[in-house]
Symmetry: none
Subunit: 291 residues, 2 copies
């Protein structure tokens, strides 16, 4: 059962009880952990100046079934994934009885969602989000497009953005065709396009049109080579890994919300003031339930 003992610690504590050759191997592993993750067992054995069989013996000595298991552990450490994702996935597949199947699925979804979010706030993405903010702040008008499953994320941003800026336009095709809504788009404007595979034709067309009018594009999508990301000023590539048939737009939504938060933070008191005004207006329309 999954007592997630750290194999490195195990290696250290058992070190004294190992045979000389195994100690040699163990020592090399302790000194060169990344070799375990990246090189083959034989290559490691060569580097440690030890026959391959010694490594195998070392494995069983520290209570590890197979080299694969050991390597997986080190690979996950390198990726900074606290729990062995692959291993857990296998575990989940094993217990396939009907009673716990649903719980397993949800647990696995949870892990995936967290992974997706973590990846979305990687240092690289963070700096790209800051770039995106700068572009948004400089834009005359901000168009937001997202169809199908990506619509909610686009919608979320548009809704929040409009509470403190009045230059946001959600291109949703509700009011006639796309062409109408994008009319007049130009180099001083900005298009935020959201979409993952399968790419919806309308979204790609909107991006292409914007580009043809020299309007810069911020792409929130699933790949660097997504058609939406082509020639984009700023590519916000997020994971949409999911257990189900549908892609997950959780990370996309999260990034959208983060952009809003960032814009407000950078906007200072002026932004907050505008939000207050917007809220007041909504209150006038009796939108909210008073407590």
């Amino acid at each position: 059962m999954g007592v997630q003992t750290d194999l490195r610690e195990k290696l250290i504590s058992d070190y004294a009880k190992l045979s000389p050759q195994m100690q040699k191997a163990a020592r090399y592993i302790l000194d060169h952990p990344s070799d375990v993750a990246l090189r083959s067992m034989r290559a490691l054995a060569r580097a440690a100046d030890v026959p391959p069989s010694t490594i195998t013996r070392l494995m069983s000595a520290i209570g590890v079934e197979t080299w694969q298991e050991f390597r997986d552990h080190y690979q996950n450490r390198l990726l900074d994934q606290p729990a062995s994702y692959a291993q857990r996935a296998r575990e989940t597949q094993r217990t396939e009885n009907d009673a716990n199947r649903d719980e397993h699925l949800l647990e696995s979804i949870c892990r995936t969602e967290i992974d997706n979010i973590s990846a979305a706030f990687s240092p690289e993405l963070v700096s790209r989000m800051i770039e995106a903010c700068e572009a948004i702040e400089d834009a005359r008008q901000v168009f937001i497009v997202g169809r199908g499953a990506a619509y909610p994320a686009a919608c979320q941003f548009a809704y929040a953005y409009r509470l403190f800026c009045d230059n946001g336009v959600l291109v949703d095709g509700h009011s006639g065709t796309f062409g109408d809504e994008l009319r007049g788009i130009g180099r001083r404007d900005l298009l935020i396009a959201v979409g993952a595979k399968p790419y919806i034709r309308d979204t790609v067309r909107a991006v292409e049109f914007a580009r043809s009018q020299h309007c810069p594009v911020i792409a929130l999508t699933d790949s660097d080579v997504s058609p939406i990301a082509m020639d984009a000023l700023c590519k916000l590539v997020v994971r949409d890994t999911s257990q189900s048939f549908f892609q997950s737009f959780t990370a996309a939504l999260s990034v959208m919300q983060a952009l809003v938060a960032l814009l407000v933070a950078r906007g200072g008191p002026k932004a907050l003031q505008r939000i207050a005004a917007a809220e007041e207006q909504l209150a006038v329309f009796d939108t909210y339930l008073e407590d």
Copy 2:
């Protein structure tokens, strides 16, 4: 120019000139860089759903002699950039000047979002989600309501749900008033209501109306005592903690997506069949961009 050309950039810039299969491979590599460093070429090919030869061909297409060379490049990248999330968090906390203020904010948003998601998949919520699924499966019609900031989450569910069930209705007020859309709601139906503080009057009214018609309610909201959750058959209470002025709907969206995944999983092959049919229909309408 530098021998140290970034192979990733090369892959992106040459992407358009590659053959379809190579694009498939290139795309997988771009989306899963750590697979290059950690897994074997054949394993990667399998994951990318491409024959091994395609990878070899891709190598020569981008001017790389051998897979080894390519892999080494990615391994070095992985080692150079140990920017583990936790580590980075500690680093950033040290420097507290204005330049890093944005990074800090995003960092903190990330943590909060992960917390929100984790809480949403707690054992208690998991079992409630399973209850919710059972209710949805038994319902004659499934109405989904969510206004304002909660609209995207409602929308997301409605979109996905409609791909495999035809008894879902998104109550969004687009087609006239709420009253119209909820007409005929009754004890055999189900209302899924989404909303957090500040509660929007329309949503609460919809819940009250449903209740008056003896229609059970599933509430996706921020508190057990939220007006939306009153007398609900099933309360899915998620956190919406956020660094910004706006609540975060990430957890709500995630739960919605999880519900969909669960419904599909429980629906078995029949559900998948329906999805296939829906996809086909979308293809007929030329919705998607072909690859």
